[in-house]
Amino acid sequence: MKMLINAADTVVSDALEGLAQAHPGIVRVMRNPDYVVRTDAPLQQQVAIISGGGSGHEPMHIGYVGRGMLTAACPGAIFTSPTPDQILAATYASASRAGVLYIIKNYAGDRMNFEIAMETLLLEGVPVASVIVADDVANPMQDLRRGTGATIIVEKVAGAAAEMGASLEECARVARRAERQSRSIGVALSACTVPALARPSFHLGDNEIEIGIGIHGEAGRQRTTIAPVAQIVDQLCSALVDDLDLRAGDRTLALVNGLGATSPIELYIVFYEVARWCAARHIVLARSLVGNYMTSLDMAGCTITLMRLDDELLQLWDAPVCTPALRWGV
């Protein structure tokens, strides 16, 4: 498998160096333990919003550090959650007396590592709250739902609230509401290649696709054959709308996210079909985002996220943001 890397064991550190040098005005990259933090942190009287997770999903999370979004992010090894040391170092570098909100994707490892960091902070008297993102409808069991595309929205909304001076409780409240109003589902056309493994982590035949794929290549709900994208979008959007109980007249934010190896032109075709599908059901697409926002290394495919919007969430989504990967209003 050909990859533009130096060596499998320097993939994360080399990418962090690149991020630091590409965006010196926005982020600082700290090493051993590794974390990425806003250049102007710690911010007095502002709640710190911190997330983290395995690497291989860039720009999530390191690309979302900056004004109006994350205060800091902790990148783990490829597909491996960060360690408590990283999380605590990022917290000490960014938290003020206003406290810290952790945004955690619903994976056993992520939850345990953040939980250990939270136990330490509680002993030290640092105000800390957390929100678990579990938006992937591929699994019918609620507590097994994975954190995927909604994580970006939750990070944006919580970061906007913090930037506006909201309290820790307020930031946690809007983050949880954004999470509850969001659902995602993905489809893979081909597997990803973990650099240390140097071969695809599973196999899809020439005409096969996997509906409900996880962002680490974990299996989804169904393996089927490739079809015109309108049919695939119909299946994906039906699952989302049923689960979120979206009704005619509801305003939504739609995120069509590439998993790494799918071309932008295909993502726009997917979005076109999502827009047509929603229009036919009088679901209003009030806001949209199309591109590679949460990848799975070089996996081909996409995820679709729908969030039900209200005035508050809309205002937080529209608020200015200045990060390496998401920037508007500045």
Binding site: A77, F79, A108, M112, N113, A196
Partner: protein, 221 residues
């Protein structure tokens, strides 16, 4: 027989060597039902532990186990880091200040380590995790010591129970961890966490086990 600081250091060195030797196998097992990083992550963690051991030759058993747990927590990540890290730290806390221990002490340390894994992972037996290998081993060891068996014999019985527990994960359907996303498709594959627990148990007993059996290899093809 008494277990000394020197025994514990050699156990950890053997564990690191066995994990390194089997890192590819562990990652391969994790590729089938997880996210392809178990061997890589544990190898990174135990290698970091070995580096710390030099400075701990004069420490007590509790300190050595606590530093091992802290190092695993700080370097492994994923679910394995917090689970093994918590287990070693709990055992370390129980054996704080001790320079020599006996069978009953080891049984008690294994017991608190097991409780640590259960609490941290919120896991029960039968969910296709490392617990399915560790719990039978701890129980077997405790009963054997209670029955008055020698440390060597208790360890041998415990290792057999761990191995049996590891094999028993093959027909299980996972309900915890990333393998749970596979649902019924997780059936028929040996759990990578149970497998690493087996190698650590091998190191504890002092056996240098052979490379993976044919049965394991068959799982992967």
């Amino acid at each position: 027989m008494q277990i000394t600081v020197d025994h514990v250091i050699r156990f950890l060195e053997r564990a690191a060597a066995l994990i390194r030797e089997h890192a590819t196998e562990l990652t391969e097992l994790d590729t089938v039902i997880g996210d392809a990083d178990h061997g890589t992550n544990l190898n990174r963690g135990f290698s970091a532990v070995v580096v710390k051991l030099d400075a701990l030759q004069d420490g007590d058993i509790g300190t050595i186990l606590d530093v091992t747990g802290k190092t695993l927590l700080a370097t492994v990540g994923g679910a394995a880091g917090p689970l093994y890290g918590t287990a070693f730290r709990r055992a370390g806390a129980l054996l704080a200040g001790r320079h020599a221990i006996e069978g009953a002490d080891i049984a008690a340390a294994l017991e608190v380590a097991l409780e640590g894994i259960i609490e941290r992972g919120r896991v029960q037996r039968g969910e296709k995790t490392m617990l399915d290998a560790i719990a039978p081993g701890v129980e077997t060891f405790r009963s054997a010591i209670a029955e008055g068996k020698s440390l060597e014999e208790a360890a041998r019985c415990a290792l057999a129970a761990v191995e049996e527990g590891m094999r028993a994960t093959i027909p299980m359907q996972a309900t915890k961890g990333r393998a749970a996303f596979l649902g019924p498709r997780s059936i028929g594959h040996q759990d990578p966490g149970a497998t690493s627990a087996y190698y650590i148990a091998c190191a504890m007993v002092g056996l240098n086990v052979d490379p993976p059996s044919d049965q394991n290899e068959a799982q992967l093809s």
